[in-house]
Symmetry: C2
Subunit: 529 residues, 2 copies
């Protein structure tokens, strides 16, 4: 498992919401008055009363923590640090530690994708991401897409295997982060998770079968805050784990986390957020209203699906230019080392460049009987093999793009808006970090809006998760967002299917929707076809 | 293990507090709207929203219950019964059952004594006790009294043995009640427990070591409500288990439960409550103030300590008259079968009668060199052996009585009251049910008050536990009672020791405190000594 130091930056480059620190867990140093005949309060009650004074709120203390309190307060000379975790209904004492440990306070922000799981280690004292690790979701061996995962989880044994697989992946990341940063995994005392609805079900061990059959009803949309031990996570077992709420079967908590990170729910301007992962999820709205839908984009742009695909890790080609005259590709890799594969943004760049070079036509087919394009010949690649974009890769991408296009059109029409009304466009998703917006617009993946309205917000699901760790107010906002989004279920829509079919052209059947692309095509002389 | 049908009556004979039913768990039938494309709420959220409507309060749903909801609501055709349990911070979904199961709703009121554990099966639909079982506390093999139990629990292994012993005892009673009443133990979905502070510690697995060393600080006084599964109880594992709060190391939740049952905290009249078990606990006060203390009475009156002692079970001698002329004893047994031993009230009757017959002197010593009195000769007993009261039994009793006397005097003086101020006297404790008040006054165990002010309230700890099952308001009252009692720690008092020594006379060193006894002694001609 590898990860790029640059991934870290994803959560640093653009802060779109301001938050007042009010974290999911608090560490509170207690200098307790010693008991005596005139103050004979019991140990647990003494600790609880001190905490209530500070938190101005009820604090629950589980039996196992009660059991350790008498020894902890006495051995520390009545100086101990309480870790209080928020569980929606109130605070719970997660741990009581000897002495003053307030300086060491760690949380974990998690983005569980169908393909990739990313875990950010957050210093809860500052709110900063101090490290990040990513890995392929261990469920991949049970099926690459959502539907085959749901099928694999059709009985309890399968469900538990899938649950175990993603938990193992996450625990691997946790232990890796702990080791690399010199902390015990138990020192992580807060977790928040953004994930799509199916991933949430499989992570929680909830039967996902009703997600994929009409009327597409999840077992739960708002799981709330759950103890880490109940999820098998190797952090502090009483740590609160906030699971972002979903809106429906195909508009999940990852998107809600993204909305939270974008801050669009707080502003009056009409915003459009597009998050392209395994699904293409689209949300429009502002502080007054919000509506969303999702089209099954497929994992074309996630690492490991295209023949030479990989995650955005060192060695991944993420930026491509193709010389129209020579047909030679110029590329950059993450870390600038030898190329070993192509990540999502590299694939989008490649296909856009192939199109603008006239090497593929508007339906995405290679011209002249070819069925692949070699970006890096074997002799220069880090793998000793050609790194190429194949016709199959392009076909996959065309389905993704078609689904995103169709969903966007459906949503615009449903809410009675046009593209011109959009005041802000947020390009979300881990893959969006390196993505070249021009390439995405060229291919019709993103709408052709004034570029100063378009903002890349990177792995906004992970950023939303980080924000939730640091602000209970933002958790409440996330719950409100999920509750208030009007959700259009596209699975049930024949109209959507028609749109999907008709949008499988580059950039779109109707070129007038993409004026800047039309202009560029004219410049390149590929408009006439 | 035997139990008397009459024990049942203990909770029926006198209701001293009125309660509005507002039970610890509620069973709520839900006719859920079926989901569709226009109502695509997730299953768990659908159930939760219905419950919130009914309870007007937040409802937490644990992961394991979330997991069973999709199947339960579908297999029942969206008609299911929610069991909602109260956990101080809010409601939790304890179970979701197919169809309408509201008619079957069971709770368990428990009194854990140092010697005896009593479990009352409560029909939560009516609030009535439908059955009762009692058994010796399985911890007895680790020590008969509180101090030796605490010593046995000095390391974690010992603590866990003692915890396991009382849990086993209680589970035996639970399974017995379930079997005898044709229900599954899991159908018991609420439990409340009255117990002394040490018993609470051992039941919860909390280190009791600081209870018996100055400044006598328990690990916890208010454990609150705990999930049954965390306690190893074989009822529904998510059932709320309310543990009555204690006031201090020697004034425990059993007494608070007794106060609740007496209702003295709601009235303006000045009341005195005396609960004699292993400790003699004494509380005075009214709706305005309350004060209490405890003297280590020893288990003299609990079954199994006196040589021929036993619990108040069939065959126990509970009522005794001794003919002064013939020296013959006339007795009654519980169930009126052949006598097999003497229960606490029988022992008090016997000693009082021995005293009034002039067979023991004011210091409790047998006259004429005897060292026992045979109540039932071997030939007529159910055991084939003599049933007798020995000098050792009397000496044990004298310590108990001395402790109770001294504690009462200490308390009266501390709060600046005299016996004449007492408007109501509550004789509490399981053993008090059969106790003859005249005998208790004769021996100085109870004060010599006008008899119309004296009320036996039986096993008030069990009755308090029953009330807590049926009323969350009463749980709040219990917490208030515990918080507001001024506690006098007698272990720290030299004055108490002096009083203890000087009160080891029948009925008291100062006969003028006991005018009716003095009169009767005069009638019997035993006053001059």
């Amino acid at each position: 498992m590898q990860d790029s130091g640059k991934l870290n930056l994803i959560l640093q480059e653009r802060k779109t919401v301001d938050i007042d620190p009010d974290p999911l867990t608090r560490k509170i140093f207690l200098g307790l008055p010693e008991p005596g005949l005139t103050d004979n309060r019991a140990d647990v009650d003494r600790v609880r009363q001190e905490l209530i004074k500070i938190l101005s709120d009820r604090v629950n203390i589980d039996l196992d923590i009660m059991r350790k309190i008498p020894r902890t307060v006495r051995e520390s000379g009545w100086r101990a640090t309480a870790v209080a975790g928020w569980f929606s209904w109130g605070w719970k004492l997660v741990d009581l530690q000897e002495g003053d440990t307030t300086a060491r306070h760690f949380g974990l922000a998690v983005d569980i994708g169908t393909t990739t799981v990313v875990a950010y280690l957050v210093d809860m004292a500052t709110g900063r991401v101090t490290d990040v690790r990513a890995g392929y979701n261990g469920q991949i061996k049970y099926g690459e897409d959502i539907l085959s995962r749901i099928f694999s989880a059709r009985d309890n044994e399968g469900l538990m295997q899938l649950r175990g697989a993603v938990t193992d992946t996450l625990n691997g990341l946790i232990l890796g982060l702990a080791e690399r940063n010199g902390l015990a995994a138990e020192e992580i005392t807060a977790v928040s998770v953004g994930a799509n609805t199916t991933m949430v079900h499989l992570f929680l061990g909830l039967d996902p079968r009703n997600i994929c059959v009409a009327p597409y009803i999840p077992a739960v949309n708002s799981p709330g805050i759950i103890e880490a031990g109940h999820l098998g996570l190797m952090v502090n077992r009483k740590a609160p784990v906030y699971i972002f709420p979903g809106v429906g079967s195909y508009l999940g908590g990852d998107v809600v986390a993204g909305i939270l990170a974008s801050g669009m729910h707080r502003r009056d301007e009409l915003a459009l957020l597009v998050d392209i992962g395994t699904n293409g999820e689209i949300v429009m709205g502002n502080s007054q209203w919000m509506a969303g839908c999702a089209g099954a984009a497929g994992p074309a742009l996630e690492g490991g699906v295209a023949a030479c695909g990989m995650r955005a890790e060192p060695g991944a080609i993420y930026k491509v230019k193709i010389d129209r005259e020579t047909g030679q590709a110029e590329y950059h890799t993450i870390g600038e080392g030898p190329p070993v594969g192509i990540c999502g943004s590299g694939l989008v760049d490649s296909i856009a460049e192939l199109f603008l070079a006239g090497m593929i036509d508007r339906s995405g087919r290679f011209r002249g009987g070819k069925n692949s394009f070699v970006l890096v010949p074997a002799g220069r690649s880090g793998t000793g093999k050609d790194i190429a974009v194949s016709q199959a890769d392009i076909n996959n991408f065309m389905r993704t793009k078609g689904a995103v296009n169709a969903a966007l059109e459906h949503l615009l029409e449903s809410v009675g808006c046009g593209l011109a009304d959009i005041e802000r466009f947020y390009a979300a998703g881990a893959f969006g970090h390196h993505l070249d917006i021009e390439s995405a617009v060229t291919l019709g993946l993103y709408p052709d809006l004034p570029r100063d309205r378009m903002v890349k917000i990177g792995n906004s699901s992970g950023e939303g998760a980080r924000i939730a760790l640091m602000s209970r107010q933002c958790i409440r906002e996330a719950e409100d967002i999920a509750r208030n989004i009007t959700y259009f279920e596209l699975n049930a829509s024949q109209e959507f299917m028609n749109r999907f079919v008709s949008s499988k052209f580059i950039p779109h059947t109707n070129l007038d929707y993409f004026p800047t692309v039309k202009r560029r095509m004219a410049e390149r002389g590929i408009l006439k076809e």
